[in-house]
Symmetry: C2
Amino acid sequence: MADSDMFKNFKEHSVAEFFKKNRQMLGFSGKVRSMTMIVHEFVTNSLDACEEAGILPEIFVQVEELSKDSDHYRMTIKDNGPGIPKTHLARALGQMLAGTKFHRYIQQRGQQGIGGSACVMFSYLTTGQPTRAVSCCNGRRISANIGIDFKSNKPIIEDIGEEPTLETGLTVTAEFKDVRYERSNHGVYEYLRRTALANPHCAITLVEPNNERVAFPRSIEQNPQKAFEIKPHPLGIGTHDLLEFAKHNKENRRISAFLQNTFSRVSAGKVDELQALIPELDFKKDPADLTWNEAELIVKSFSKVKWIAPAMDSLVPIGKTQVETSFRNIFNPEVLVVTERSPKVYRGGIPFMVEVGIAYGGGLVSAEKRGEVMRFANRVPLLFDNGGCAITETIKSIDWKRYDVKNFDEEPLAVLVNLASVYVPYTSAGKQAISIEEDIMDEIRFAVMEASRGVQKYLSGKRKAHEIATKKKVVGRYASQLATDLATLSGKKRSDIEPKIAKIIEEKYASEPGEEEETGPAGESSKKEDNPDSEGGDE
Amino acid sequence: MADSDMFKNFKEHSVAEFFKKNRQMLGFSGKVRSMTMIVHEFVTNSLDACEEAGILPEIFVQVEELSKDSDHYRMTIKDNGPGIPKTHLARALGQMLAGTKFHRYIQQRGQQGIGGSACVMFSYLTTGQPTRAVSCCNGRRISANIGIDFKSNKPIIEDIGEEPTLETGLTVTAEFKDVRYERSNHGVYEYLRRTALANPHCAITLVEPNNERVAFPRSIEQNPQKAFEIKPHPLGIGTHDLLEFAKHNKENRRISAFLQNTFSRVSAGKVDELQALIPELDFKKDPADLTWNEAELIVKSFSKVKWIAPAMDSLVPIGKTQVETSFRNIFNPEVLVVTERSPKVYRGGIPFMVEVGIAYGGGLVSAEKRGEVMRFANRVPLLFDNGGCAITETIKSIDWKRYDVKNFDEEPLAVLVNLASVYVPYTSAGKQAISIEEDIMDEIRFAVMEASRGVQKYLSGKRKAHEIATKKKVVGRYASQLATDLATLSGKKRSDIEPKIAKIIEEKYASEPGEEEETGPAGESSKKEDNPDSEGGDE
């Protein structure tokens, strides 16, 4: 074959064509999973929008079966959020990699600008129909049919209507084939149940194909503290990142001002420290003139300076009380320990934090699944791809025997892990597994170990108590004989001796457990320690 | 917050920006893995190019450590392939989603047009350096420095040199940080070892950072049969696919001709059958006028007609003999069974086939890893993300006890699975795991079960033989006493009786194992059966 032949087929492709060919990378593989992905994408967008606009979220999800034998459904997802303005509606739903979230350092559920458009694509691919969107925003009710032109990755918008309204919110209705409704562990019902668990401020209604109406009411009447956008932290910023910021910098004429205004925790004092570390670089220079080598020097010196940790309040965990309440509602466990770690930083100056809840016994004894792991990222349940996820892998790597858990998969245990971060490193665009990154796995490990110790104390206390009770019972058996013997030997009355022996036994076997009685009742939370473990190097 | 504020940050992003932010989706997470991914991307491109041009591949990989404390390396990958013409060089390496492979129905290792550019991106992100490419193609030697403009996803090409040459081939040299060389299970060495295992026609040389030169010589002096491009098969074609083909159709004025010329196995007779199934549709109509509903009718009728399977010879497996030779070289196992299934079709009319090799005992008894799974897709080793992969999941789901394997993870077993297909549904752009798809998992299951039965026969034969030998020994112990007793009872000579008893025992316990002696010696392959299992519905 002539070499030129091989390249006559050289072509360029749009990101929409890429995901059309590789739809499994968006999570569209398997009928049940595909349906859950659709709900997942629209509901996460709705929650983000509501919270950012300061609205208590109310989500309505309806799944209608249009034809049984071709797996044909109509799905509606409606929220009471701020809606999407007319100018952005088509691109928000009909163009991949377009949106408000991609470039921001803020804790949100969505972060790619792909999800909504991916569902519009999947609807069109399986039914040939556009997606109907009704957006009530800024006093106008805009309705339109939206599709994607795959070749150009541009939206197709048709049948636009517009009228005044007093409402706000977005309603999306689309038809799908190759999907299926099931009340299984991977279905829409379970997804929404877990969403409610981690988002107690959200009211969710689900209408199932059989017309059954399921309500997940809110248990908290206010939104969580609002996440806010932060500047990146110097620790973890790469040379390329620094140069990108310098390239886009317009306000600052000097490197010193640029560093202070671009990154968090960089004060004038810190700039002096950095300057002292790199005397050969003129910090009065224009940031635009920074070379790769100079930027590399700055990044290296970042790691030599002591920094204040990134703003903790930019991260919004589910919260200790809420995890406890939710777990108690679901499992009514015998013991429950919730741990919340302080925030840490990883690559790119990205703050993140991990919270963990471990429940043992009680309702879990009769639960279908033993050793259950409930994964969340920014309060979003992760139901799929548990194999390659940092959460699952970390939990697998823990030596559970050290915590008196003989076999994790066979114990009445449920472990909840939530990763809160301004950026979650998902393994694929389907956003169902967290990439195996050391810093993140370390934090998950510390948090799980910390909570495990709480459970262990309870379990070992319980075991001890059981052992003591057994001993007492055994010794007690001889008390009567001993009293008779002592009476004979000493000539004293048996009835005087026996109560004394009983008292000695009572004292002996009552005091011991107290010695290590740190064991709390069910629901007691462990104290927050930053370095919970002697074996772990926690930076 | 005013709603308009939320959308003032609405932006569009290029696919290069997407993967820059989400580099872990390309497999760039972890230092050792990142280095392996670089070798993986360039070596698969090299092998594809050599095979397509009919050249016996010779690959040279060099890893140089430039600085220990900053994980700074230079990597060179050189092949003897056809090279890339000047007109395409920059885009092939400096633009994502550009290439020759994306849209073709042909079994190749690469299929996305992302890998090479992803490495160029990763080099620039970590070192600020462009990638040096030297392409000897069509008598010209083109050298250039190549980078990517992230914002536009367009190549940046600099320092272009050109001179005449008699050679062919591509050499890529780039610097990287955030990578690490290690001779571990996930490192470059293991990756190349497995590549050699599955590509015996390929000669590979690796120069390690300590200057050690490792050769993986070729063991076959000719390329495998050439994969060729095929037309899609009607089974599995979706409505949307059919309409896309109809839209791009130029040569055919009638649906009847369009169907025959666009899809494989559609003859005039088959068109008549389809027409009979859809009398309401005029097959003389212009394909461009097909509506969604009409296309859906055609797709539905596809599934009602009996089709010849897709061209099997479009798929090129590693091959039975080769898998046997490789396994024997590596493991020297006690028993080895290789199974090759006939091709099947899945979504989109995509033919695929599965081959499986199972080795037991021998060198595996002392191997570090027990129950090892070696995954391949189109002869490319998959070293990462085993958790969510269809191969691993299928093997986990098999009831190994049925095959006399007590605990898969503790037995001296190695299972090789290769999926050959014109399209492999990877779970992410990093291409390390195959998506959980039913059709594919079924085939893997049948193939593994078929091979397992071969292993089981051997194991149960061995166990039987052991049991018989034990029985014989036990019975033998009484032979002498029995001879004495019989001599006393019968009055005959003991020396006459004893040999007769011995002969009876010998005959008795020699014949039994023969009754089920289908057990082959190590290396015997199972016969190819299309429906190996009574329990499995093989379509």
